[in-house]
Symmetry: D4
Subunit: 154 residues, 8 copies
Amino acid sequence: MVRVGIVIGSETDRAMIEPALTVLQDMGVDYELSIISGHRNPARAREYGMEAADRGIEVIIAAAGGAAHLPGILASWTTLPVIGVPLPATDLKGLDALLSIVQMPGGVPVACVGIGKSGAKNAALIAVQIVGAKHEEIRLTYCKYKLEMGEGLV
Amino acid sequence: MVRVGIVIGSETDRAMIEPALTVLQDMGVDYELSIISGHRNPARAREYGMEAADRGIEVIIAAAGGAAHLPGILASWTTLPVIGVPLPATDLKGLDALLSIVQMPGGVPVACVGIGKSGAKNAALIAVQIVGAKHEEIRLTYCKYKLEMGEGLV
Amino acid sequence: MVRVGIVIGSETDRAMIEPALTVLQDMGVDYELSIISGHRNPARAREYGMEAADRGIEVIIAAAGGAAHLPGILASWTTLPVIGVPLPATDLKGLDALLSIVQMPGGVPVACVGIGKSGAKNAALIAVQIVGAKHEEIRLTYCKYKLEMGEGLV
Amino acid sequence: MVRVGIVIGSETDRAMIEPALTVLQDMGVDYELSIISGHRNPARAREYGMEAADRGIEVIIAAAGGAAHLPGILASWTTLPVIGVPLPATDLKGLDALLSIVQMPGGVPVACVGIGKSGAKNAALIAVQIVGAKHEEIRLTYCKYKLEMGEGLV
Amino acid sequence: MVRVGIVIGSETDRAMIEPALTVLQDMGVDYELSIISGHRNPARAREYGMEAADRGIEVIIAAAGGAAHLPGILASWTTLPVIGVPLPATDLKGLDALLSIVQMPGGVPVACVGIGKSGAKNAALIAVQIVGAKHEEIRLTYCKYKLEMGEGLV
Amino acid sequence: MVRVGIVIGSETDRAMIEPALTVLQDMGVDYELSIISGHRNPARAREYGMEAADRGIEVIIAAAGGAAHLPGILASWTTLPVIGVPLPATDLKGLDALLSIVQMPGGVPVACVGIGKSGAKNAALIAVQIVGAKHEEIRLTYCKYKLEMGEGLV
Amino acid sequence: MVRVGIVIGSETDRAMIEPALTVLQDMGVDYELSIISGHRNPARAREYGMEAADRGIEVIIAAAGGAAHLPGILASWTTLPVIGVPLPATDLKGLDALLSIVQMPGGVPVACVGIGKSGAKNAALIAVQIVGAKHEEIRLTYCKYKLEMGEGLV
Amino acid sequence: MVRVGIVIGSETDRAMIEPALTVLQDMGVDYELSIISGHRNPARAREYGMEAADRGIEVIIAAAGGAAHLPGILASWTTLPVIGVPLPATDLKGLDALLSIVQMPGGVPVACVGIGKSGAKNAALIAVQIVGAKHEEIRLTYCKYKLEMGEGLV
């Protein structure tokens, strides 16, 4: 069952989000990857946000560069936790995306991670933590990962 | 007839947008001021964006601080020109809002002006220029303003 | 039962974190507030991180200014989700804290929110979302909040 | 009939402005491209600004890097709307150009877009919106573009 | 005889430029202070730049905030050395003005000093150095100032 | 006898720290290089910090990129001087690491040097100065280096 | 016997350096405070740097704002360790001083601490660590301070 | 006769300063190029600064990256005008050098130009303006250059 919905704004962002896919695969957490531009196709973003919880999605990861409104837009349409990944897609190297994602107004939270691939990896790990809050076996998988990391195994 | 739609995200942004209101009043361009949070009430923002052109609005001015997605969200829902005013509402003094507004992805334009009250004034002047593209008397009003400014009268 | 552990580095950060406390109180999510300097008393931070899950804490919120290592330090000692709130405690107005919190290395995630009080509020909301992943009544409380926000009631 | 005047400061900026040319060509809006350095040849910039409206130009797009005064200089000499495109021409990667263009003083507006090629594309789209305010067929072309973008066709 | 022409964009910048006036008075270098907005009244700025050398001006000091094009505009119209003083007139605290002044394109130099009053003082000292290149008694006055500064007298 | 303990967070940082190794070798100051991630393996970092002085280490050099908590974490566990080297490991080119290292809270000092290889070299030189405070022959080696540098020999 | 030489560029910087004085007094480390402008009186700065070691000074702390060359200038004239404290003396709030102090070229190290009073306190603590490398009783004083800090006593 | 003294800190900066050499050669202004590190060899920098005027030098151009103290150090030792060129020699791409050069304290001026090669070119042009203040034929050469630039010939 798909528990994590990953959304990127365009095909060109796929490489950046790869580390998130790897983490979820390795930890056995089902996910889906959608390409939805919050600005070019706001109706699709709205639909995605409004239906995600009903479809069983438990967490949304949204990655975007530049003005990077996608995580905030999805957060406005859903009650699910939204994790935003700022991408270094412009000449400002992700500083623009970082500020656009992290400085959300009080009331509509987005959980922001670091710029680029490290951030994508951590976004997936936060998603696993959140999914793990409900699903004990996933929580244990995360704990095992943490232990192995301490031992230098991952 | 209302030609310029001004949107702010909350009552607290009103003082910052005042210079825009003054310009429009002085130049005889009708406007309306709406308070719509793009994140707290995305349905209202969507409705505003989708209906604005049909209601006769010719230009939208949207001011916002922090992540400042409002102008971009409205731009995603309308074919009207959208002018974004970054507000210095956070500890980052509007740098966050500036980058969030100006770095829009190719395809969904927002015309960005400077941070704060000077920006608000200029947003109104751009709105007047755009409205003036269609309405000759408003174009002439703008030309007169420009002349008087050169003479130090305004 | 205490589900959210809030940690600040010193008494002077208390005012900044207030909005988080208000959110949790309003939503009926029990929390505790601890003052632990990750640098001055790393043993206490370690102890807190290692014991939090066993004590029933489900999410940790850590707020810090300047170098702002506290969220990352706690994240290194726990498998719980850690939400970091950058505080504008220095002349750099929180930009230092933001980068120190958000740019965590891949493998040890911290979920970062905006600088200062808005961020603190959103940190609490994310905590509620995460706690709500497990506790249905809290999830419903969050959904109700979201609905009321859309109606301008909160 | 030429409706959009595009100005760059030197031949080396041509590649950056290409996306604007493509948009205007695709939408059937006539334009001209001029190379005028506002600083090296201020007399030519003045002449361009003063005569643009009389020559039938309806909007000016000016792209520049570094100190990037060109859009502001043209705006000082014309009553036409001026759209400024900051270019990443220096070691500061366009941040200098962005601030130089967007922070215009109240009274002399420039509509700023994002840094580089995405900005150039959006500058053209804003130009089309403005020209479309007067010319219904161009407005419809823009609306069609917007619709197709929503459907992923452009 | 007036040797240094000081130009500010508006009356509100006068306090910031005061230290420059004091230096020139103390060193016995005649100056004039003009208020000319490069953007609001480009014709006046052009006239000033074109006539300055003929009027006997030997150096121009121009102070401006925000987009701060004034020094560059004057430099485009004159062969005299132009010293630019960035003013902290906006929410960006002079960083915008600094970049707008200092990042001039190759071929049209502006000598930039620090932001605000310290910069204004140093602009006057550079002006004295330049005037002193031609007028021996002024050069000696500067040397005396330098000596006294080393002795802590000024 | 090992007097300088150098710590990096991962194998990938080794090239950046090379100049420090060269300085210490050239000056005959024994060192050890350890790879310890402060976040992935906080227990190891704690152990290192707590035991370093007892093992005879006199100064610690810690290099890290991104959130760069390593120097601060080590400083929290030891009474030895800690020198932090910010590395340009992310899209923010070391600005993040710099602020994370240098903005330590009052009470827990880290001596920060420049970003990257120049910083690494200087970190080693500061380490030599500190070791030289106790060991006269090393102090003299540093003085000789300084003299030769003045003569352009090193 | 004076072991720590503290240098500030002007009387106005005294308040910022106070926390350093308090630390040294509390820990019983003798110091002297000198006011020497590296730029206004380079001969005095040179003399100070060249004589400091011979006068028994073991560490130099130099605090400065703006271009903040003082620590680097002293470092160029001495073989003693130099700790630089960036002060928030300009509109850039110490970011200028931070970069000017921390980005020293390879070969001439300055140990940089945080901006302002927290940095000043930590500069003194690093000085105590360095002096303590040679003087056992001072090293023990620092260890005691560290212990008490962990217990929340200081 | 050598009128312009150009100083760089190391051989590696030579390429960056080339455009300055070209300008001076083209305009027939004699110069000398010296390599002096202000930090590694402060005695040589002092000597250079103290003797430059007596040797007939009329203007000094100093280029440096990173902490970039060289222009300020030379300015402290001479009464000649000093023009500083910030070089993009570090990961911060010249922003560090820019702030270090431009934010000089009141009393010791440095005339700053843009980062890198464009700045180097403009430094030479300012030097020509200053030398031209005294030497009429050089002033005329500059005026001719300015004219030809306006005609697109240079």
